[in-house]
Symmetry: D3
Subunit: 234 residues, 6 copies
């Protein structure tokens, strides 16, 4: 599968389905605690993780002046490739905003697919106006330097209790944001599609009044009926 | 009062009023911390509690395979009577979803009045489509087995820091979900109606510009005026 | 500046801008953790703080009967001046509601500009109907006396981890609520306006495709361009 | 009973017994969450509450300079009567120390019976050297002004989730610290002594191999045996 | 292996070693968060789990009178077999004590090997005197009924975020308390012993100045040296 | 001052004094929340920070096999210079142990001055035997890979809510652990010594019965007396 095809497949896989498939492979900790869509949306966002990392505030370093440093969030943003998902480790600090309207506007301009963080954003009215899809823990007026010090980008990070490595695949929808480690992307794409098809069929059975035991998860008889229905469909 | 009449009365009592009446009887801990309406609603939901209980995950037991066990959430759902409110003790675990669209669809089909939990649901878009009223702590993509093990139903449980026994009355509205223990149902129904009527009259006085002291709570003079107004109304 | 002019200026300053200006003056802790607009609003609210203080429940004192005491929330409300912002220290207790529809209706009637609390309100449907702008941590059915004891008003308080003194200036918008200590009001008004103008201009540059380094924060060259643009505008 | 006699009685009542007696009178919330003996001790401390109150830090007010203000912790300490228990509302903030060795030394000098707080103390080695009995949540190096602003004394406060009013009786031992509201002091003294005597007798029965049902709580037969044993003892 | 032999083996396995062995088998969640030895001890405690379960307080049910009910903690204690470890689900509630000195004395008398809970105990001086080994989250003066309602025993429970089933093996030492599910007991016993022997040998190498890479975990060369040393020892 | 002299000075400065001096310079956030001496000690530990960083567990990466990777905690330990203080960012995760007895034995062997972490250690009996001074949040049986993935060393980290950069000075005593940023080391050394001398003199005054106002902080008259006493002492 090309990268582009892969992305298209993941557009059709809910984060719920992805976590089920990964759990069957032994990965129980892939859903980030905290990030939640800031805007009402039916959409799903898919991209490679571009990571940013904060440590706690130290008043001599975390100042508005620091924003001009070459190791600033500004420099990190200018390094983001088109289509990436920026994943920001704010250590769950929710009483200052990592970014406001100006930084989000620039990210939108650069083609960033979405911003995911276990922290907060600020100037929420302005951020929503930029059109950048944001998954965060909340909203807070103070600037990042009130509680955080920026230290670097494209390093391994934690976000919402989940390890995120640069270039992991990230998928975000109304259920939140999940990481698909590189090594699992192909397998999840394939098994996820099968899972979605099966669950759609089960949903139809439930709509028709079927009871759950034997249906979900399907027993041998149900599986046979499902396979038969698929054969007919083709 | 018949059961049906009782339910009708409670449709007219806000959870705020119910907690005030129960507090006067010495019950301060009847409102569940966490459950919040997932959908925008002006409605109130009333039903007998049908309880479900989870314990923490143990990886050898909490697997997708477990869903086929006779002691599964599936079996519990098939046991739910029409009109009940399913109350689920998830121990406040909010990083996996106890149920998704398929289970909620089946519950809706079985006539469950509402789902109340101190945990989360998954596949929120699908859950909302089923029309099942859900009061939960949030939304999470991972399946229940990522963090929880299901152990049984119709047992005493804790939900949001409140004890819930099978067949307690549960009422849920925009202020959340409360339990009315069996032994208090009749008394709450009666005193609640009186309280609602009095507060409506007080609200009218406030709208007319009355000051609070002496009015709310009403002193003897206010009570007399209120009684007079009721007498006239009849 | 007159008080009225001052208020008008602050209507145009976002809480995000205010926190940035105060941080430059050494104040990092002015944004209250918890209070969030209960209603959808594009508006900003400005007023002098009128403080109220609760301590934890003691069952012999925190009873519905206490509401008739001269040291009750009712008496405090009757003392609120037109245009103030009521700031209520509920110690972050979110499982009972400090006020319901009747008290909020009276506050609206008295011209209170907004209610800000790190606690919850109850009877949310009724509260929204009163039109009183409310910034709170959430919604809960139980009355205040289920968890709190009211002890006084117009004292120094903590609200959401921030010290609030009577008559401090409070500003609340979609990013939450901030305190501007008396001694800083004039300076924030002036510097805040300059900051807003500069950020608006930077936002335009970003919209035009400008990169961040050198632009935000502005280096000498950018500052010169900005000054030139302002000169032209006049 | 004289005050002195009363104190002597309470020296013999465990905080466990006191909470049981108060619970029977409807007071469930009298034990402070957090305060724990800093030193190894078999002793029990009894005194009238002398309350102090902090609000969160505001950097312009919470400075070492503030320590010289007339509304400082220093002035409060000089106001403490001999034999009181200082109860300090630090809002549970545990990352700065409300007092260090110098202030504790002065309190010891003034005859303060104990210090109880839901916050931390600093310079723990020095504090222990002063001999002042301290019940706190922990130890932290930073001064109070790093996180707190002192605002007053002998006001109603919250400490560890419990309301404390000036002159309430406070008792602290290895199980922590409890408040006995003024109105309940006499009754607790009397019923507490009876409870301690009964439990001592039950403990002897258990030591002799008796089973619990019928013994604890005692049924009619056990009560009769107990009364008989008391009669004999006299 | 007989049950008695098995217990003897586990006396020699640290909880640290047990968790390492179980993790290799896919069980990451077997260590209870909270329980900690109340007394200074070098000992390790091993026994089958006898489970007890609490739900939150409901004031009409959680009263001292409830202690006389046939479904009380007293009845549960009389049901505990010699040598069991009582594991008590207090839902992490740490502001009341599940048991005090009388109940602990009776448990000691009945030969209970240890008490493990994610809650607190009360009357700590008395509890220590009974000699019953206790692993708990802390100490609190109030009786269980101040915050909890007892509902049953020998059911599946959660304790400190871990699922515990009746008759699971429980081991507790200075690192806390772990569960070994029935199906894993034999395997853990065997692999645990091997692991302890290997780690002891590695510890000796480190004492002799060896560097870690290649040593721990051992590479092929180290393994060979270890095997050789074992052969010599026999 | 030579490095060695500097260290000797800091041996005489309590962490309480250091935080007071840094606060006067605008640094309020230098004390790590969580790390606490594992052993009873009167000693103070001083060294340059050697940082290690963990992110959350990902089951495919956090395995015992990972311990053999070149980017493992083992490799980091072999890189630690004599006299350093290892500061480990465990993100506050306290339910697995970052290190056990073997790793601590090796660190002691390499001359590491102390281990400071906001996480836990395991195999506490063995760790204490190694003699390595440890400041941690607690003790837990499970291995690091049960909850954490190690990602690197000598990077900027957060530890207990404080930013720590490689080679910052770290001081730990019974009040916990603090960071002295490089740029402040000289100034803290000097002012800290003056502060300690002054506070010792004040302590003597308090022992002699002096009241606090005017004494601490010292007013002009007290300062004069203090200077006079110092002059005499020389």
């Amino acid at each position: 599968m090309t990268n582009k095809d892969m992305f298209k497949v993941f557009q059709g896989l809910s984060t719920a389905t992805i976590t089920t498939v990964l759990l069957k492979k032994g990965l129980r900790n892939v859903w980030m605690r905290g990030p939640k869509a800031l805007h009402d949306t039916e959409q799903r966002y898919v991209g490679r993780a571009f990571t940013l990392r904060f440590v706690p505030v130290r008043e001599d370093l975390a100042t508005p002046a620091a924003w001009a440093s070459p190791r600033s969030t500004r420099a990190a943003i200018e390094d983001m490739p088109d289509g990436c998902i920026a994943v920001v480790d704010a250590m769950g600090v929710a009483d200052c905003g990592i970014f406001g309207d100006i930084l989000c506007a620039r990210m939108a301009k650069r083609g960033v697919a979405a911003l995911v963080t276990d922290g907060a954003v600020r100037d929420v009215a302005g951020v929503l106006d930029t059109g950048l899809p944001v998954f965060c823990q909340g909203v807070a007026a103070p600037p990042s330097v009130a509680g955080l010090t920026f230290v670097g980008w494209q390093e391994p990070i934690g976000c919402g209790g989940v390890a995120v490595f640069p270039d992991d695949l990230v998928v975000a929808d109304r259920d939140g944001a999940v990481v698909v480690p590189q090594a699992f992307v192909e397998a999840v794409a394939q098994e996820g599609q099968e899972q979605e098809a099966l669950e759609q069929w089960i949903m139809d059975q439930v709509a028709g009044g079927a009871a759950l035991p034997g249906l979900y998860p399907p027993n041998a008889e149900t599986k046979a009926r499902y396979e038969a229905s698929r054969a007919k469909a083709t």
